[in-house]
């Protein structure tokens, strides 16, 4: 079996495994639904996830330790992950392969020739990583400044670096890079002196381009929901995701670009590939030519997946170890071993220092500018309800990958990808929408918190979510508070009995309670023509037969001795019959004034008990803008959003 076949088996296996993990990330009783599979494994293997969250949080969370294994193998072997494991890479590989079919070998070789803009992905990587490192910069300066020895050391080093960089910028313009570094350091120091509040900030945006979050997101929110449709249901009901079309276009676009150039995404855009390219710099085993001279048939480049020029000086940081060159060379002049290529090799990406500097600086500068929106401060959006267990907003944004795992697993489909509700940095992060789903946040469900690969939604036990046992003092996790809109609520605004919200409130005792009130209906004050103990006849025949016989209407005499309300059991146009066991004693006199009243129970929210689950909002019969709606006030995760003492 040739090495290429082994690679294909590996790719097929990992793609199938990935798809299987996506399929089993479905909530239900079937054997193929969630059963403890390690469905986050590909995200955990992805060292960009690990690196990004290490930069933003200073910790390496649980399963992300797998990323270390990938890093170690990459240091030894180079970009094996791209060519052998990455399911997104495999899709690109496949489509690129199909797109090239029937072309001549020289045409294929031209498509697969190295392109200068393949360095673009490194800039993306730098940008995403520096955007994630603001807090780390601020914290490291802060730690340094607590210790006077560190302070002077850092100050001296910064001054030295700046002076050196300035000197070098005159003599060696290419060394101007260090100016950039000095500027970052200066920025950090400045940030310290200005309180670091606004000058530095971190935002985890790697998930926008990182292929694994991107693929999970696309499959979870676009492909599987399409497949969920009858008759081949994965989930029991159709799943809806707001803005799924944007994700779909991005996904399809990324795939179709392979027709322009094979592995377009991997070569030009993928920040993870860039990270691997940098990590594999000292890899021990590499692809390379064993002899200087060959016939330059360039068959080796016809199917070169990395676009790394194996026929000449190989760019080993672009090589994805597809082994096609090794396989295709008719003269066995390409080997995989510890020797350097006989025609030389290029191990570093082709980067312009100026462009790299601009990217690094804009990464550091962009986040503080985004923070000026105040989305995580006073200007927070109350319509943003995060899943239960979500960390406080700044910490949450430092961990959320936008991978969509929580959105996939949510049994009621209420977790939705944000558009711009939480600002630019919160795009595609999970927010709850109680209208689109099939219910509210289920009282006894912690699925999203257990699935989140980075603990942006930290793992909750049911006891913690419900506030039981050891969590009794803390109380249940609240994700917001329901507010009744008195202008839209049927019993409040329209004299219609309802209280669906109260009935569905899952909290015990219920957070929604009612106050009873009897309201005289419109035109319901009538004059009696004659009456006996059970039947009252009016002067004017104004009623529809049995209109008042629903069990919600009462008759009350407004003058005379008998004022007790009587339940109406039947009516004609001019007559009303009351409950036989509630006779009028004495019956109203002719000319007496009576009122037909509706018994209403008006819902109100006990803010102490409401957990913001949104079941009331989901069930509210006012189907457009609901008459009871949850906003994020009083959510457990934020002290400043609290509503009560």
């Amino acid at each position: 079996m040739s090495i290429v076949t082994v690679r294909r088996v590996s790719q097929t296996f990992f793609l199938a495994l990935f798809l299987w993990f996506c399929i089993v990330s479905s909530f239900g009783m079937e054997w193929r639904q969630l059963r403890g599979w390690p469905v986050n494994w590909f995200l955990e293997l992805d060292p960009l996830v690990a690196l990004g969250t290490v930069l933003t949080t200073g910790t390496l969370y649980a399963g992300l330790l797998w990323g270390l294994a990938t890093i170690i193998l990459t240091i030894l072997l180079g970009r094996f992950f791209c060519g052998w494991v990455c399911p997104f890479g495999t899709l690109h590989h496949l489509i690129g392969f199909l797109g090239k079919r029937g072309r001549t070998a020289s045409h294929k070789a031209a498509l697969n020739h190295y392109h200068g803009r393949q360095s673009l992905k490194y800039y993306f990587l730098f940008f995403l990583l520096t955007a994630a490192s603001g807090t780390l910069l601020a914290d490291s300066t802060r730690i340094a400044f607590k210790n006077p020895v560190f302070f002077w050391l850092i100050l001296a080093a910064t001054m030295g670096a700046t002076v050196l960089a300035l000197v070098q910028s005159f003599s060696k313009p290419k060394r101007a890079a260090s100016i950039g570094l000095a500027l970052i350091a200066a920025w950090a120091v400045l940030g310290y002196f200005l309180g670091a509040g606004q000058m530095l900030g971190a935002s985890l945006q790697t998930g926008l381009l990182d292929p694994l979050p991107l693929l999970y997101r696309s499959v979870n929110l676009v492909l599987l929901p399409l497949a969920d449709a009858d008759p081949q249901k994965l989930f029991s009901s159709q799943r809806y995701y707001e803005g799924a079309w944007v994700l779909g276009i991005i996904f399809l676009g990324a795939l179709l670009l392979n027709l322009k150039r094979p592995r377009f995404y991997c070569r030009f855009l993928c920040p993870l590939g860039a990270l691997f390219g940098l990590l594999g710099r000292y890899s021990l085993w590499k692809i390379g030519k064993t002899a200087d001279h060959c016939r330059q048939c360039r068959l080796c480049e016809a199917n070169c997946e990395g676009g790394c020029t194996p026929s000449a000086a190989i760019r080993s940081n672009e090589c994805v170890l597809c082994m096609n060159c090794f396989h295709e060379c008719k003269h066995d002049l390409i080997g995989f071993g510890t020797q350097r290529s006989a025609t030389g090799e290029i191990v570093s990406p082709e980067l312009s220092r100026r462009e790299a500097m601009i990217t690094l600086l804009s990464g550091v500068a962009l986040v503080p500018m985004m923070n000026l929106n105040g989305n995580t401060a006073r200007n927070y959006n109350p319509d943003v309800i995060r899943p239960p267990g979500a960390l406080a907003e700044p910490e949450f944004l430092r961990r959320c990958l936008k991978c969509g795992q929580c959105m996939r697993i949510c049994p009621t489909n209420i977790i939705q990808p944000a558009e711009l509700q939480t600002g630019l940095e919160g795009i595609w992060t999970p927010i709850l929408n109680f209208r689109v789903g099939t219910s509210g946040c289920q009282l006894n469900c912690v699925a999203c918190s257990l699935l989140c690969p980075t603990a942006a939604i930290r793992p909750l036990s049911l006891d913690e979510k419900r506030g039981r046992d050891g969590f009794a003092t803390a109380g249940p996790i609240r994700i917001g508070t329901a507010f009744v809109d008195f202008g839209r609520c049927l019993p409040w605004a329209m004299d219609k009995p309802c209280i669906v919200c109260q009935e569905n409130c899952p909290v015990s005792p219920k957070a929604i309670f009612v106050r009873e009130i009897f309201n005289t209906v419109r035109d319901g004050t009538l004059v009696v023509r004659k009456a006996d103990a059970l039947t009252v006849e009016f002067r004017d025949p104004v009623l529809f037969p049995d209109q008042m016989a629903t069990g919600d209407f009462y008759l009350q005499q407004l003058n005379g001795p008998e004022r007790e309300r009587k339940l109406i059991v039947r009516n004609t146009a001019a007559q009303v019959m009351v409950r036989p066991d509630q006779p009028f004693q004495p019956p109203p006199e002719p000319g007496a004034v009576v009122a037909i009243q509706v018994r209403l129970q008006r819902p109100e929210v006990d803010v102490k008990r409401c957990i913001g689950c949104g079941i009331c909002e989901h069930e509210c019969p006012v189907s457009g803008r609901r008459a009871i709606r949850v906003t994020s006030e009083n959510e457990s995760r934020s002290k400043t959003h609290s509503l009560l003492l």
């Binding site: 390496l60 969370y61 890093i71 510890t338 400043t640």
Partner: protein
């Protein structure tokens, strides 16, 4: 093509070099991974009890409870009379003292509307402090309206500058979390702390005002302006909250300015018809006693102000101000 012996030696050296670098890289990331490994993840946002600050007591035990009530329409002469009546300001402010004056600068309104501490009164108190030997006088508040506007329009800023006192406007970084011992409301809550650095005497100067939620805004409620954060939620339980303010702040003195009393439309006022000349100036070491007397200027009694009852029960002070045997003086 077989590599020559020489080139294989080079290759071997390069391989070793690469191996060393790869080894160092692997050791480096592994160590880093191990050091940063966090198997459990974040927990519920801890109620951080570190960094809690508390105000020291500024009251002078040796002076005992003292109170003076001066009558007169001119604040400058009233305050001088009142101080003279309780043994002069020297009894409270000593050589080298650093004095903080907590004014009521809540609103960006002109002084004649009496919604804020009167600037002439403030200037006179500052002068007296300096005369008694104070090395510095700091004036601060965390107003409701925009601080710059409040200090400018109320005249307090100009008044402070004219006598050489230091005006400190609130900044986010000046607030530190505090917890009131024996309280249930003020827990781990931001308080305007930085201006108190190095201060050893505290004077509160507040006007007497109607206040819809609590009944009256006087000396005790004036400490609301030391609280930061989303403090308006405390209005849900205003009486217990004001009592806790009394537990939080133990001033050297309070000065309650009842020269003009805001009888209606408090605490903002906004028109002269809200004011009534009541011609009274109170200086007291007991904030509860001062406010109990102040209530009478509003035509109310201590019974109308539950926070006074609560404060007395918690030992903040005495409602029956006559027990302090207040010295009553009248301007001629």
């Amino acid at each position: 093509m077989k590599p020559t012996k020489e080139s294989s030696a080079i290759d071997r050296r390069q391989f070793l070099e690469r191996s060393a670098k790869a080894g160092i890289a692997i050791a480096g990331v592994s160590l880093l991974g191990y050091a940063l490994y966090d198997p459990l993840g974040p927990v519920a946002s801890e109620t951080d009890t570190g960094g809690i600050v508390r105000l020291p007591s500024f009251s002078l035990a040796e002076s005992g409870p003292r109170m003076a009530i001066a009558t007169g329409a001119d604040r400058v002469s009233s305050i001088n009379l009142a101080f003279k009546a309780i043994g002069g300001i020297d009894a409270f402010i000593k050589q080298g003292d650093r004095v903080l004056i907590k004014v009521n600068a809540a609103f960006a309104t002109p002084p004649f509307l009496c919604a804020t501490t009167n600037p002439e009164l403030l200037a006179e108190v500052c002068r007296l402090c300096f005369k008694a030997g104070a090395s510095s006088v700091i004036i601060t508040d965390n107003p409701i309206n925009n601080p710059e506007s409040c200090f400018a329009l109320s005249g307090i800023g100009e008044s402070a500058r004219s006598v050489g006192a230091d005006l400190i406007l609130p900044k986010d970084s000046f607030f530190k979390p505090t917890t009131v011992a024996g309280g249930t409301l003020i827990k781990n809550w931001p308080m305007l702390y930085a201006p108190f650095q190095g201060v050893n005497k505290l004077i509160g100067i507040a006007p007497v005002k109607d206040h819809h939620r609590s009944g009256a805004s006087m000396s005790m409620k004036n400490w609301y302006g030391l609280i930061g954060g989303r403090r308006n939620i405390f209005h849900q339980n205003i009486n217990d909250f004001i009592m806790e303010l009394g537990l939080m702040v133990k001033p050297t003195l309070v000065i309650l300015d009842g020269t003009m009393t805001m009888m209606t439309n408090g605490p903002t006022g906004g028109s002269l018809s809200d004011l009534k000349a009541t011609n009274t100036m109170i200086v007291s070491t007991d904030q509860v006693a001062a406010d109990a007397f102040g209530a009478t200027l509003l035509g109310r009694t201590a019974r109308d102000l539950p926070y006074l009852q609560k404060a007395e029960a918690e030992g903040v002070g005495t409602i029956d101000f006559e027990l302090l045997r207040p010295v009553r003086v009248q301007a001629v």
